[in-house]
């Protein structure tokens, strides 16, 4: 009501979506354009890859329309966000089912009942688990798997590396982060602090193992950057008080490397974020119980 006079700037979710467009184009270049050019996929891959974000967004939009819900973080937004970090081997049918699960959880539990569970990460881990047990788990495209291709200098410059469907461009992720830092509502301290802790653990581990190549390989991991820049600071799932934010960032940052070493470098950061999220939920629940009593 009293915001009548406020000059509404571009909402944070719209900025996110703008960067998603660039990320999709970057991912398309790596996972569709280059392999098709080298003859590893048919031309349909050029269009097929776009289906994931488009379908995720469209299904989310339809879900919002049918349920007549209008959230700041809409299902369409979550549909697109969810599609970005998927393994390349994800079947479209599985993706659609996962999307519906995501929308149901988001609409009827997360936003309605005020749950703090990071639904995107939860669904990602669920989907990855399914793919793993059905032996379809794969992040590298055929070109990368063949071992015949070496990325050009331009590719390296653009920061392409093995990652989710559309999360491979480190440069785009860094640019996104820098631009998002200027947004008043973006919780920039979360990616900054957690990346700091991640870097610290990485440096310590590399010195311990005397393996500087390991440090250089993982210092700009696109999967880690994507999770830290886009998933970790999402308002709905991240804490808002200063102490909790620091705790959350610490848990997230410190957990990345151990989980990456234990599971793999694609899912370690997702596990770390999921656990940090769960611990904060647990801490809130304990505090609420103590506060009430």
């Amino acid at each position: 009501m009293s915001r009548l006079h406020k000059i509404i700037r571009i909402p944070l979710t719209r900025k996110y979506l703008l960067f998603f467009v660039f990320l999709v184009l970057g991912g398309w270049y790596k996972n569709a354009f280059l392999p098709v050019k080298e003859g590893f996929y048919s031309n349909t891959q050029l269009y097929f890859l776009f289906f994931y974000p488009l379908l995720g967004g469209f299904l989310g939009f339809l879900f919002d329309k049918v349920c007549r819900k209008k959230f700041v973080y809409s299902n369409a937004f979550f549909g697109v966000l969810f599609s970005l970090g998927l393994p390349i081997s994800t079947p479209l049918s599985v993706f659609v089912i996962a999307c519906f699960l995501l929308f149901i959880l988001n609409t009827f539990f997360i936003q309605k009942k005020d749950w703090d569970l990071h639904v995107v990460v939860f669904l990602h881990l669920l989907l990855v688990g399914y793919l793993f047990f059905s032996q379809q788990y794969e992040y590298s495209n055929l070109l990368e798997k063949s071992g015949l291709f070496v990325y050009t200098f331009l590719d390296q410059l653009l920061g392409f590396q093995g990652s989710g469907l559309f999360t491979s461009s480190v440069v785009l992720l860094l640019v996104s982060f820098l631009v998002l830092c200027f947004d008043y509502y973006y919780k920039k301290e979360i990616p900054l602090t957690s990346y700091g802790f991640y870097l610290l653990t990485l440096v310590l581990y590399s010195f311990w193992k005397m393996d500087m190549a390991f440090l250089l390989t993982h210092v700009f991991s696109s999967t880690v950057l994507f999770v830290l820049v886009f998933l970790a600071p999402l308002d709905l799932f991240s804490p808002y008080s200063k102490k909790r934010k620091t705790m959350y960032s610490f848990l997230l940052g410190v957990g990345i490397l151990p989980f990456s070493l234990w599971i793999n470098f694609y899912e370690g950061v997702y596990f770390s974020l999921f656990l940090a999220n769960l611990l904060i939920i647990l801490l809130n629940a304990i505090q609420n119980r103590l506060f009430r009593s």
């Binding site: 009293s2 006079h5 000059i7 209008k70 509502y185 808002y240």
Partner: protein, 378 residues
């Protein structure tokens, strides 16, 4: 010190105000003190007559009835209705005028009509007079207007206070963006020793006592006055009369020629708007006391009291309230570090200065100040 923030101002709302006067309302409505809820026996009253302790009649006329009205704080209170006879018959002044420089401190303290203002001067050792010439709301300009209109009068009054309290000094805090006012003060300041201008950043709430004194590093032995209180002091001490009029600013994107109106206390807001603009703006959103701290009240029953700063008349816009996304910005911007989410989500009573910053910053457009006032969800 709390971290204060600047506000985004809609530039389409002009702050170039013109001066208007409306001093002849048909009726005035005077809120009755809580203990005295019945009508006074005197039927004919004179202007300036003390009806109850600290309550003076702003017009001469007849007591008509008692009616329930709304005051700017939103409360519904019984009010004495005085019908104006338009003769402005004055009550005889209580004492003869005496030059303030010849007054003793005791005589000075006895000359107040307003007890609240008098209380500020009761402390023993006054070393600094802090004058806030800053309007709190971005769309209210009463303080700046009063200073522009009465610069010399205010400075003379301040000088008189400095003479009364030897060894004291005065600071007038102005926003560094009010260039016209700064220039105007500079034209007179050479004549007044011990009065200095302090330029403050254009931050919301910077004019409030706790934030201003903290910014000026003043902790004790000071008197904090707003520009309108200094003017009231001038009326009471130098003119020897109670304050019977007030200044009300009327701005907003629905208004082409914004103004500050001098009007009688107790005038109904609807009558004021109709007489000044020829319309009661019923199809617009009228915020009483500014857009940040004010609220939309029933303009038909609203009475202008000394705490009424003005009206902001805005075109109605469809602001859809969305669910909370837990961004926590309401907590970050709160100048007293409260948690408005506790009031919103759990209905808990939270310490609040009702500055409206939480509602202003909320990306989901949740009217948090409503919950902080303890109002229930519709």
């Amino acid at each position: 010190m709390a971290k204060l923030i600047p506000l985004d101002i809609d530039v389409s709302v002009s702050k170039e105000v013109e001066s208007k006067v409306f001093l002849d309302p048909d009726f005035v409505y005077l809120p009755l003190p809580k203990q005295k809820q019945e009508m006074k026996k005197e039927i004919h009253i004179k202007k300036g007559m003390e009806l109850f302790r600290g309550m003076y009649a702003p017009i001469s006329g007849k007591l008509a009835s008692v009616e329930k009205c709304i005051v700017p704080s939103g409360e519904e209170v019984p009010c004495l209705v005085v019908s104006n006879d338009f003769q402005e018959k004055n009550e005889k002044l209580a004492a003869t005028r005496k030059r303030i420089s010849h007054m003793t401190k005791e005589a000075f303290l006895d000359s107040f009509f307003d007890e609240v203002l008098r209380q500020k001067f009761l402390q023993e050792n006054i070393l600094t007079f802090v004058i806030s010439g800053i309007d709190e709301d971005p769309y209210c300009c009463n303080e700046v207007f009063i200073q522009k209109q009465y610069t010399k009068i205010l400075l003379e009054m301040l000088d008189a206070l400095l003479n009364l309290y030897p060894g004291s000094k005065a600071m007038i805090a102005l926003k560094n963006t009010d260039s016209a006012l700064i220039l105007q003060y500079n034209n007179f300041l050479g004549m007044f020793r011990n009065i200095e201008i302090k330029l403050m950043e254009d931050l919301y709430l910077i004019g409030r006592e706790e934030f201003l004194t903290s910014k000026l590093h003043i902790k004790e032995n000071y008197v904090y006055l707003r520009a309108h209180e200094l003017y009231a002091l001038y009326l009471q001490i130098k003119k020897r009369r109670p304050v019977l009029e007030t200044f009300v600013s009327i701005l907003g994107d629905a208004i082409e020629n914004p103004c500050v109106v001098e009007t009688k206390l107790g005038t109904k807001a609807k009558e004021l708007l109709q007489r000044v603009y020829g319309s009661d703006f019923s199809s617009y959103a009228i915020y009483t006391n500014g857009i940040m701290q004010g609220r939309v009240l029933d303009i038909e029953r609203l009475v202008i009291t000394p705490d009424c700063l003005g009206f902001v008349i805005m075109k109605k816009k469809n602001t859809r309230i969305k669910s909370c996304i837990k961004c926590g910005k309401c907590i970050t911007v709160c100048p007293i570090h409260s948690n408005p989410l506790l009031a919103y989500k759990r209905g808990k009573a939270v310490r609040c200065i009702h500055c409206g910053l939480c509602s202003y910053i909320c990306p989901s457009s949740i009217p948090l100040e409503k919950y902080l006032r303890g109002e229930k969800d519709e």
